[in-house]
Symmetry: C2
Subunit: 201 residues, 2 copies
């Protein structure tokens, strides 16, 4: 196996160990020592792959985001050509919610990362960039859907994008079983139905 690939795979295995620490032991255990233990390597070996705790956390967050993007890309391929913007937005939003094991790992990593961002300037800048990028993409999709006549032209694309992103707040309700996955999807569909309702046709 080429050395570069092996290096990347090792880092991904460490990232997955980090996700398990967040999930099973709690963020208080999010130290390099405990992640090394969970990954079954020594602290020294871990430090060979990540120079600092922040580098390790940021890689684990980036890897989680990449996995989420891959899931969205795979989902898009199943939507037909061209996909309806409502389906694209629904796919992006639901992949951000903890509705299956992989999305749950991403979602928990993301929650831990946002808490880390409160007191770490670098983490904050990276987290902000990631979400801002996602937000821009959602707003562009809405603008295009308005241009293509799928959404009423009197809708404010920025405000509608903000509302859609805010619906990631279902995460907490789902994680704590306050509502069932089906109820979250019903509410998401209700919201999207209203967004895509044309008052004039």
């Amino acid at each position: 196996m080429p050395k570069q690939v092996d290096h990347r795979e090792r880092r991904e295995a460490i990232a997955r160990a980090l996700w398990r620490v967040v999930e099973q032991r709690g963020v208080i255990h999010l130290t390099m020592r405990e992640v090394a233990q969970e990954a079954g390597i020594s602290l020294g070996q871990l430090q060979h792959y990540f120079a600092s705790r922040e580098a390790m956390l940021s890689f684990a967050m980036d890897f989680a985001s990449e996995q989420a993007s891959l899931r969205v890309s795979r989902g898009l391929q199943e939507l037909g050509e061209p996909p309806h913007p409502r389906d694209v937005l629904r796919l992006m939003l639901t992949e951000m919610l903890p509705l299956h094991a992989d999305a749950r790992a991403t979602s928990r990593m993301s929650a831990a990362y946002v808490l880390e961002a409160l007191h770490d300037r670098n983490v904050r800048a990276r987290a902000r960039d990631g979400i801002t990028q996602g937000r821009t993409l959602v707003e562009q999709l809405i603008r295009q859907a308005i241009a293509d006549g799928h959404i009423d032209p009197d809708r404010d694309p920025a405000a509608e994008a903000n509302l859609l992103l805010a619906l990631t707040g279902f995460t907490t309700l789902l994680e704590l079983d306050v509502i069932e996955p089906r109820a979250a999807l019903t509410a998401v569909d209700l919201h999207l139905d209203r967004l895509f309702t044309r008052r004039t046709s």
Copy 2:
């Protein structure tokens, strides 16, 4: 000062120290030792007030929730009699968002508590109960607003309550400065305007 009051005040001071630890040092430092240090007391003194880390965390969360309820109660008094249900829902929702220092402390405590709930059954049960109670109240308000003719009778109170609670997802967007407080309030108002729009009058 009566002993009971002093005991309560000491616990509240410790809870505030815990909030500062979450905010300034990060959840990884959420140990009894570091909270004691932040509160300016010894670990032994802290253990006199809280038998376990979980008891300390749960008190700090309950205290944060109580403070939020007090802010909502004070806000309700300014709404006039009887308050319009739209204003009540807006007040409840916006007090859950990190739009000012006190609400920010509650919001961050809550985010840390939800992460703790992932791997601690007691914390999970308490967190779930708290949010379920809030959700029930929101749904009751919506049902009453439908009965009083403020909201269309064809709206589903459960789904609308879920959507409103999901909008707490603005928290991350605000914490990371992805959007401005004004943009969050604009989107919240847009959502409430639609909820309270009567198609038949």
